[in-house]
């Protein structure tokens, strides 16, 4: 999802170097999604492949966190979201790299390397924008404040996850919160930004309760496989 959102920048970035960097991150993310969906399809064993899971599920069947489906916003929003998400992803991948599932552990090890770069890149931009001009400071602070209510969901756990934790396949997402908070606080203060205050945390992605944005995004993303059922591309 986030890879898709980032790819919307392709050709429209603030500088050519950043078009390249954002596309790079988008590529990593779509690649990770492809591997994860492939693994999920194998586990499901119902004849669906990664593409079927990506292109033929509707809104209520999608299980992504809400934060990644929000529209890309301005560059400040894109950077802030990437940063908040990538720090979470870093800790998640780190934990999953020791999963008892070899495939998942392998995917995690690969993604971990990529995510280190995503964190570094987005953190550098957060600092640049936060500690840049008054305008950039204001814009990126607004973005953080706006995004904050979507961060809590990343650290919720549920019965499915707990079952996987018992088999040492997955990690308890709530256990990642402290490390995330520490890293995020550190960069936000270096960026001369203020930590957003406590707000009600939105939730629902993991149970298929999405924002209105997801349907529009899927309509665009899925148009070809839906229009030409059964066609190979």
């Amino acid at each position: 999802m986030l890879g898709h959102r980032l790819s919307e920048w392709c050709g429209h970035g603030p500088i050519l170097e950043e078009d390249i960097a954002l596309t790079n991150i988008a590529l990593d993310l779509v690649g990770e999604a492809n591997l994860l969906l492939g693994r999920a399809a194998t586990a499901e064993n119902a004849g669906r492949d990664a593409d079927a899971l990506a292109f033929l599920r509707d809104v209520r069947e999608y299980r992504n966190a809400l934060i990644v489906e929000l529209p890309k916003g301005d560059f400040g929003f894109t950077v802030a979201r990437q940063f908040l998400f990538s720090v979470y992803a870093l800790h998640q991948w780190e934990a999953l790299s020791t999963s008892a599932d070899d495939d998942l552990a392998g995917i995690a090890a690969k993604a971990l390397k990529e995510t280190r770069y995503h964190v570094r890149h987005s953190a550098e931009w957060l600092v640049r924008l936060g500690d840049g001009t008054d305008e950039s400071h204001g814009r990126v602070q607004d973005a953080l404040d706006e995004l904050w209510r979507f961060t809590g969901e990343l650290f919720l756990t549920d019965d499915v996850e707990q079952a996987l934790v018992k088999q040492k396949l997955a990690v308890d997402s709530s256990s990642l919160f402290d490390a995330w908070k520490r890293d995020v606080t550190d960069v936000i203060s270096r960026a001369t930004l203020r930590m957003p205050g406590d707000v009600y945390m939105q939730r629902g992605g993991r149970s298929g309760m999405h924002t209105e944005h997801l349907g529009v995004m899927l309509a665009e993303m899925q148009v070809l496989p839906r229009t030409y059922p059964g066609a190979k591309w």
Binding site: T23, S136, V223
Partner: protein, 320 residues
């Protein structure tokens, strides 16, 4: 039409320079060169770089609608390559003493040109295949020639870029061949894309040599090695067989093999259309420039912030 550069240049140096070109020497940034050579190169290289960047738009149009994860990744990678090509050629042009920002502002204010082909719209997924196959294919024919250009930085950029363009072409051809062998709708989509992109691809080689204002000088100074018509013929010869291999029909009733020359003879290009699009009245000329201007304007605060931050950093470091 060929201007006489000797009027303003030291004749002795000019003669030495032309002798070097004739020997096949490579000209490097620090070498003496006639002002007109430098200007022609800047014009060509910046046009080329602009084309790479503007070319991201018609293909970028399909990234969010790519029909599979694999296709989405390869299209992302392709468009990213084009951005890299743009950057690389801008850097090459900077070795001639111009500033990239200056070149970009010429693009944005409409005084610099870019490849006209990108003023045509991408209507279906098959257009992504057709662009890779035909547009990157035509670019390869051009750039393989430019890889032998007399100016070192340009020639070296072309060598590197050509490798990636070959990959793009293969990918585009693969998309087309899959579509052509697919469902009837997919097949029709592929043929329609070939119908729409064929002639504009031939136009990419520019006007006939006799109508090309810059060709004479570019050839004499080894910036170009071959004329537009010869390159166009080479492209047609290469492509006819490929179209046959994937069962698509090139939309030219006059296309026939000439046993005498070994060439595929083809019909006349619609030069009115060519000049109309070059002069700004293609369907997407305005959209492309508007999109670039918007990206530039929307990014202004980001660039200002990056500069302000770098300045703060520099001050801190000079204090420390």
């Amino acid at each position: 039409m060929t201007p006489t550069p000797a009027a303003t240049e030291d004749p002795k140096r000019l003669a030495e320079f032309e002798a070097r070109i004739a020997r096949g020497d490579t000209i490097e940034p620090k070498d003496w060169m006639p002002e007109k050579y430098r200007r022609q190169l800047i014009r060509m290289m910046s046009q080329h770089a602009h084309s790479e960047v503007v070319g991201m738009l018609p293909e970028g149009n399909w990234i969010t609608r790519a029909p599979s994860l694999r296709r989405k990744m390869s299209l992302l990678a392709k468009v990213q390559d084009e951005a890299g090509h743009g950057l690389y050629i801008y850097c090459g042009a900077e070795t001639l003493g111009v500033d990239r920002h200056e070149l970009v502002s010429q693009l944005l204010n409409g005084t610099a040109k870019y490849a006209s082909i990108f003023n045509y719209p991408t209507l279906t997924w098959a257009d992504i295949g057709a662009i890779g196959w035909l547009v990157d294919g035509a670019a390869i024919v051009n750039q393989t020639m430019l890889a032998k250009a007399s100016y070192g930085p340009y020639a070296r950029a072309m060598v590197r870029i050509c490798k990636e363009e070959n990959f793009h072409k293969r990918q585009g051809f693969e998309i087309m061949s899959l579509l052509s062998a697919g469902t009837p709708e997919q097949r029709a989509m592929a043929q329609d894309a070939l119908d729409r992109w064929w002639w504009p691809s031939l136009m990419m080689f520019g006007p006939h040599d006799k109508d090309s204002p810059n060709s004479g000088e570019l050839l004499r100074w080894g910036i170009k090695q071959k004329g537009n018509d010869e390159l166009r013929q080479r492209f047609v010869n290469l492509t006819v067989g490929q179209a046959k291999a994937i069962n698509l029909t090139i939309p030219d009733p006059k296309l026939r093999h000439d046993a005498e020359t070994g060439n595929w003879a083809f019909g006349e290009i619609d030069w009115d259309e060519f000049w109309r699009v070059v002069k700004g009245d293609g369907q997407c000329n305005r959209e492309r420039l508007t999109a670039r201007r918007k990206a530039h304007a929307d990014g202004a605060w980001v660039r200002e912030a990056a500069e302000a931050h770098a300045a703060k950093r520099a001050r801190l470091e000079s204090v420390a």
